[in-house]
């Protein structure tokens, strides 16, 4: 028995007391105007982050050492597990993941403390205190209901990490998602701090936007990664399920995306203030709601929730206190925020308002769809389902007008736009879209009629997104080299907008292609037999059983032919993890360009014949390439000097072009 675990435990409690100080002193200082008290916010934020980090790494150490005297480690790890999964096991469970949650919360607080040099002192003190409230409550939650440092005697062998979590995707995915979720806490703290002060201006938006952007980047990456993980790990090639847990991460993404756009209006034109504050509150509220839904077990069934309600009720209390409190404050103070710049409906602002209306409605739709069965069951006792058909039927049509209008947005002037000029600049994109539509229709005669429209829309989006870049290059008026040098010198925010919007188009293209043109083949093969699957012939060679550290694997050896030519050797497998008596499927995925051949292994008969389920997933990788483009665009925007965290003062010296986004 070593004392690392106790060290972690103590560090957690020290952090708890520090966060109590952080919750009270800075905001008090801001009220009474004491610079000394306000400055405590910086020290306590950094220190509480330090102690939580120590605590977290102590737990990680216990996992690395397979110290099964710690209940949490015993429940979620195994001495034979690969080292990387021992480490990722730290957050592969309730207690550890909550600790990670608070660690990230404190990290963001510490970042504001460390990099927010140019924030007004009072705003900074308020922000840090609000952040402190959240750290405090979640630390209390951990210490009181979910302590990961509990010990036990005697010390047995570990119970293993859930096999499906023993995957590199799942090792990285939750931290990414959490950074996204929790990153919005800063935006929330800024909103609450502004409401407390009753003052906010375009500078506020400028301070908030980088934080929102950073959180958005991680959330986007986290969701995309989770989607790809589900795709290759769950074994039937679905990539989005409208599962409540998925929706819980998608909700803050939708409102966060809306927030990014409305903060833009506030920053440039000092308009939409009240709405932006409201969105900032809503976005983090949805993150908290997601945490509650996932952590409380309420999604599985209202009854599971009721059977052990301590944790669920605790988070529900935190949720109600913060969300309720913020909305109350909003109701009290929002009237103090005077309306800013005015604009005509046809203008950049108007376009961004439209974006916000659609994204918020979409978020509300997903929210209602996710919660409806839970609330309905709680009220009536009867169970109903709200599944993918509902979401496809409502979310899809809602997004359609938005997708159609995305290319218009960046081309519109602030205040009042010349719509005819915008049309002219989008003419080329329109032609591309129509050509794509017609060509698709010609190539895939008899397919679903909506698919060519989707392809056309995607091309319109991709090409249209670059219309602003093209226009700024001065082509075709200026020469090639002159235009190129202009492109290089173009503001990063313009590139970022173009790439992010094109990313949406690329993703749409992938979604349309795979939903419309996917093919599926099911076959039972004896050794030496071949099956036709689309353009491919798949030959079953035989069967191999291997034993690894903590699982056994059954692998079918396949040869994949295309037009009679051997193109790949493939090996879909099934694994069995004895510690948890759980099987998992390891689909074989063969990539051809952006398309994939997805082979899942089914039943294995004693005589050596196997069942295979084979999908051809055309252009499916575009779905994730689209997300990568969005993430990249976010990073690009963040690297713009104007938006860099904590640089609003310097940016003021730069000339800002009237059309800049």
């Amino acid at each position: 028995m070593n004392v690392t675990v106790e060290l972690g435990h103590v560090a957690l409690i020290v952090a708890l007391s520090l966060s109590l100080v952080q919750s009270i002193l800075p905001i008090w200082g801001a009220q009474v105007g004491s610079a000394k008290l306000m400055a405590t916010g910086i020290t306590t934020s950094l220190a509480s982050f330090g102690f939580i980090a120590v605590s977290f790494f102590c737990l990680m150490w216990a996992y690395a050492q397979s110290d099964f005297s710690v209940v949490n480690v015993w429940q979620n790890s195994h001495s034979q597990m690969p080292f990387i999964y021992k480490l990722s096991g730290t957050w592969g469970n309730h207690e550890g993941s909550m600790l990670l949650w608070v660690l990230i919360l404190a990290l963001f607080g510490a970042c504001v403390a460390a990099f927010g040099d140019n924030l007004p002192a009072r705003l900074k003190a308020n922000v840090l205190s609000v952040q402190g409230w959240m750290i405090l409550t979640f630390l209390l939650f951990i210490v009181l209901t979910s302590n990961p440092f509990e010990r036990q005697v005697p010390v047995p062998e570990g119970q293993d990490l859930n096999p499906i979590l023993q995957d590199i995707g799942l090792a990285i995915h939750p931290p990414m998602l959490y950074i996204g979720y929790v990153g919005f806490s800063v935006t929330f703290s800024f909103a609450v701090a502004a409401l407390i002060e009753g003052r906010m201006d375009s500078a506020w938006a400028r301070w908030v936007r980088p934080w929102t952007m950073a959180a958005w980047i991680f959330l986007t990456a986290g969701i995309a990664m989770g989607s790809y993980w589900a795709y290759y790990e769950l074994g039937w090639g679905g990539w989005w399920f409208w599962d409540p847990v998925e929706n819980a991460s998608f909700l803050p993404w939708l409102s966060g995306t809306a927030l990014l756009h409305s903060a833009l209006v506030m920053e440039k034109r000092d308009a939409l203030k009240i709405w932006t504050v409201l969105l900032a509150i809503i976005t983090f509220s949805l993150s908290l709601l997601g945490t509650f839904l996932v952590r409380s077990g309420v999604l599985t069934s209202v009854h599971t929730f009721a059977s052990d309600p301590t944790r669920g009720l605790f988070i529900l209390a935190i949720l109600s206190a913060f969300v309720g409190g913020a909305f109350f404050l909003f109701a009290l103070r929002s009237s103090r925020l005077e309306a800013g710049g005015l604009f005509a409906p046809i203008s950049r602002e108007g376009a961004l308002v439209f974006n916000n209306v659609i994204l918020s409605t979409a978020a509300a739709t997903v929210l209602v769809g996710t919660l409806y069965p839970v609330v309905y069951e709680a009220l009536t006792g009867a169970k109903i389902s709200v599944g993918p058909p509902f979401f496809n039927m409502t979310f899809g049509p809602l997004m359609l007008p938005l997708l159609l209008l995305i290319p218009f947005g960046p081309l519109m002037a602030w205040k009042r736009a010349d719509i005819r000029g915008v049309y002219q600049r989008l003419l080329f994109a329109l032609i591309c879209g129509i050509v794509a539509l017609v060509v698709t229709m010609g190539l895939t005669r008899g397919g679903p009629w909506l698919a060519p429209v989707g392809v056309g829309l995607a091309f319109w989006l991709i090409v249209g997104s670059f219309a602003e870049v093209f226009q700024k290059s001065g082509w075709p008026g200026v020469g090639l080299s002159r235009g190129l040098s202009r492109l290089v010198g173009l503001k990063r925010s313009i590139w970022s907008t173009a790439i992010a919007h094109a990313g949406v188009g690329v993703m749409l293209l992938g979604i349309v292609a795979v939903t419309s043109y996917e093919t599926e083949t099911v076959a039972a093969l004896k050794v030496g037999e071949t099956v036709e699957a689309g353009d491919f012939q798949i030959k079953y060679l035989g069967f191999v059983t291997q034993s690894q550290n903590n699982y056994t694997e059954d692998r079918a050896e396949l040869e994949v032919y295309r037009d009679g030519e051997l193109v790949r050797n493939s090996g879909p497998a099934k694994r069995f993890f004895p510690a948890r008596q759980m099987p998992t499927s390891e689909a074989a995925i063969e990539t051809f360009g952006f398309s994939q051949l997805y082979i899942s292994l089914g039943e294995v008969k004693p005589n050596g014949s196997v069942a295979l389920r084979i999908w051809w997933k055309p252009q499916i990788l575009l779905i994730w390439i689209g997300s990568i483009l969005m993430v990249f665009a976010g990073g690009l925007s963040l690297s713009d000097r104007k938006l860099r965290i904590g640089s609003p003062n310097r940016a003021k010296n730069k000339q800002v072009a009237p059309n800049a986004a």
């Binding site: 469970n93 589900a230 847990v245 389902s385 099911v522």
Partner: protein, 153 residues
């Protein structure tokens, strides 16, 4: 349960899958009928799974349900009748696409009402102050004005 709920993606589904893929052993219907069956499968819930349709699941229940749906189709029932039959046996829980009825009215109307409400509110705001007070000069005009004024200096 804790572990399952950790992953932001439907890990729990996997428990249901177990990937026996015995779907292969199932008898399929002829062309058009099988297509109808597949369409129905994707909107029926595997009642013991976390959130999975019987098209995706290989739990025993899903197999049985698929067999029932095929039987019903062969017996000449319409899609609507098949759904009604299953709701009768398993309750509305089995429908992934909730019915449109009084008890789901809020669910179905939310998107529509919100959208209408939002645009109505916008219209109201714009009519009351937006256009009336916006500068009547376009950006281009303002730039020209600025140019003219600077020339006079």
């Amino acid at each position: 349960m804790r572990l399952k709920s950790l992953c932001a993606f439907p890990a729990a589904i996997l428990v249901c899958v177990l990937l026996s893929l015995s779907a292969i052993a199932e008898e399929r219907l002829e062309g058009g009928l099988e297509d109808r069956a597949r369409a129905l499968f994707s909107e029926l819930r595997c009642v013991v799974c976390q959130n999975q349709s019987i098209d995706e699941s290989d739990a025993d229940v899903a197999k049985d349900l698929r067999a029932i749906v095929r039987e019903q189709i062969v017996a000449g029932k319409t899609d609507k009748q098949v759904r009604a039959y299953l709701v009768n046996r398993y309750g509305e829980f089995i429908l992934l696409n909730p019915v449109v009825a009084w008890h789901t009215i809020i669910l179905w109307l939310t998107p529509l009402l919100l959208l209408i409400g939002a645009f109505a509110a916008l219209y109201y705001i714009v009519r009351n102050r937006g256009i009336a007070q916006t500068s009547t000069l376009s950006e281009e005009e303002e730039r020209q004005l600025a140019k003219m004024l600077s020339k006079r200096d």
